[in-house]
């Protein structure tokens, strides 16, 4: 091995290597730039539409940059105002509701999925294999069929028109996807670490809480972000479980701009962009945690 290193011609080799690296980096940058245009294009189009009047939305030829820019669409959409605002409920109400639901679900999912995954990854018990398969199996049943029985169940518990059906399941494992993800992460950490802690007299919970959990901070952040985004955008579940206008979430709020008779696209776009901003910011800021994190422990 050492002979090979010593035999490598120094100087020249490294210079060309550096040049190649620079070329490839520039290439990558260009490709990413083009890719970004593809990714951003639709969002820019949404932005453009959100600044038009209703008639301008479908004008022919298409208007790329409307003038004037109708920034008032944003407060109009947010307050559902000038359009017979119903009972003083605006997107602020929806925002608060969604924050509560998504926030609590996020906490619940992060905590419970890691707890459950620990059992699957580290503890031995009869039926572990089949139980995990059953867990995965729950991902394979379309929600449309379990919708009605679930509703009947939650209703029997008296949780109609409350946030409970949307939050409680998060505290009960958070769903098979998250359990699966966390299990994979735990599996990537060598068991020697658990053993060392156990020799020092750590209980199972101690191993979980003091050894594995801190090592998996990035994984936890991933689960947190994914579950937050999911609940933020969820349309079907709030539709089924919430009745009162005052309890509705942001995703449901968008339906204010869609009716049997037509759609107010300019307002719909404005509202859609507004509700995506918090998520985008969350991701931009938090990616340091979770990408780097997912990495070091590795989904291996």
């Amino acid at each position: 091995m050492t002979e090979k290193i010593l035999a490598a011609p120094a100087g020249q080799h490294w210079a060309s290597k550096k040049r190649n690296e620079k070329i490839s980096n520039t290439l990558v940058f260009v490709v990413l730039l083009i890719g970004s245009v593809t990714m951003l294009g639709p969002i820019l189009w949404m932005l453009s539409t959100s600044l038009k009047t209703a008639t301008e939305v479908f004008a022919i030829p298409p208007i790329w940059i409307p003038s004037p820019l109708h920034f008032e669409n944003y407060p109009t959409a947010w307050n559902i105002s000038g359009m017979y605002a119903t009972e003083g409920i605006t997107f602020t109400t929806y925002l608060i509701n969604t924050l509560i639901i998504a926030g609590l679900s996020c906490i619940g999912t992060t905590l419970s999925s890691s707890v459950v995954a620990f059992a699957f990854a580290r503890l031995r018990f009869p039926g572990r294999g089949p139980l995990f398969l059953l867990c995965l199996a729950t991902l394979m049943v379309p929600a449309q069929v379990t919708m009605v029985p679930s509703f009947i169940l939650f209703n029997a518990l008296g949780w109609r028109d409350t946030f409970y059906p949307l939050i409680v399941p998060a505290f009960l494992g958070g769903g098979a996807y998250n359990i699966f993800l966390m299990r994979q992460f735990f599996m990537s950490i060598p068991y020697e670490m658990d053993e060392a802690a156990k020799i020092d007299g750590c209980t199972n919970f101690g191993v979980y809480y003091r050894i594995l959990l801190p090592l998996c901070k990035p994984a936890l952040t991933t689960v947190a972000v994914f579950s937050f985004v999911y609940n933020w955008n969820d349309f079907m579940n709030p539709l089924i479980y919430l009745d009162s206008n005052s309890k509705k979430t942001l995703a449901l709020g968008l339906t204010n701009f869609i009716s049997l008779y037509g759609q107010d696209y300019h307002l719909l776009m404005a509202a859609s962009l507004l509700i995506s901003i918090p998520i985008a910011i969350m991701f931009l800021v938090g990616q340091r945690y979770f990408i780097q994190g997912i990495a070091t422990t590795g989904l291996k």
Binding site: S112, M140, G173, M187, Y191, L268, G298
Partner: protein, 302 residues
């Protein structure tokens, strides 16, 4: 069982408690109910009627739309999953380079996955696929010299409607990219260095270091992608206004199930869901069975 084993099992039970509650009450109940309903006829407004295997008999022998929807779903899955995975991996590799502004790029690529496939997105995509003046055909005709009128009619044609949806699904590479990116960053650089010293070029390094190191992630994503693309619904619903057209060419299983639900046929919808469930189970089992190619560095404690 030894007392140590019993202690461990009890401990496991405690850890699993929330999950077990969920499985038994919130999942088990509804899933079993759906199973039971598949042998019944129920329009919700009237009592449940037991009909034995009638639903299944109709489905297999008398329902061309069932076979249509299975075909459509399989077509979609078989094309979108592999291509999507390759794209995600490529994008992840690109995102793993030390390039200026990489964090901004990552956010930009992830952004589309965050914007739910709602009516807002559907409007835009319908424009892109417009046969006469949409962006896609415009690009196609500039690149291939074909006049716009010869380009595929995408959402208006039976043959090109599924490809249109598949293309649309590539826009969501962002979510796969994140997972692969994580996996990539987890491959120790020492392995690459060793390979380079052994004389491997970048391409060879990819095959001998990157792919094997990424295999557990690929496995995870493969399973998840297949499970979720078999259940694709939202995009199809908004792009075809719930019809699965033209002429049922985009009628995927879950859309069919949803339609049956809207036509007050809960029993039949449940039966359809069970068949879908079994197909997905089978697909997953096959993947697990032939998963020797996956290389784990950490281990499941046996």
């Amino acid at each position: 069982m030894t007392s140590a084993e019993r202690k461990e099992a009890i401990s496991a039970f405690v850890f699993l408690a929330p999950f077990l509650v969920w499985m038994v009450f919130l999942m088990g109940g509804p899933i079993l109910a759906a199973f039971f309903l598949s042998f019944c006829k129920w329009d919700i407004l009237n009592p449940i009627q037991f009909v034995g295997f009638d639903n299944y008999k109709t489905m297999f022998f008398d329902d061309p739309r069932f076979w249509r929807s299975m075909f459509n779903t399989a077509y979609f899955t078989l094309l979108s999953v592999p291509i999507g995975m390759v794209l995600s991996i490529i994008v992840a590799i690109l995102m793993n380079q030390k390039v200026k502004g990489i964090e901004a790029f990552r956010t930009i690529f992830y952004l589309p996955s965050v914007m739910a496939a709602g009516v807002a997105m559907a409007v835009l995509w319908k424009w892109i696929f417009n046969a006469d003046s949409g962006l896609l055909n415009y690009l196609l005709s500039t690149l291939t010299g074909l006049p716009m009128s010869e380009c595929p009619k995408w959402l208006a044609s039976e043959a090109w409607s599924k490809p249109a949806l598949i293309i649309m699904s590539f826009w969501n590479v962002g979510s796969g990219m994140i997972i692969y990116l994580a996996g990539l960053q987890g491959i120790p650089t020492t392995l690459y260095e060793a390979a380079e010293i052994d004389g491997a070029n970048k391409w060879q390094q990819f095959w001998t270091v990157t792919l094997p190191g990424l295999s557990p992630v690929i496995f995870f994503q493969l399973i998840i992608s297949i499970v979720s693309s078999f259940q694709i619904f939202n995009q199809v619903y908004v792009m075809t206004d719930g019809r699965g057209g033209p002429a049922d060419s985009t009628l995927v299983m879950v859309l069919y199930i949803y339609q049956k639900f809207k036509y007050f046929q809960m029993g039949y919808a449940s039966a359809l869901a069970w068949i879908l469930f079994m197909v997905i189970m089978l697909a997953t089992w096959v993947q697990f069975k032939y998963s020797k190619w996956v290389y784990y560095e950490g281990e499941l404690r046996k």
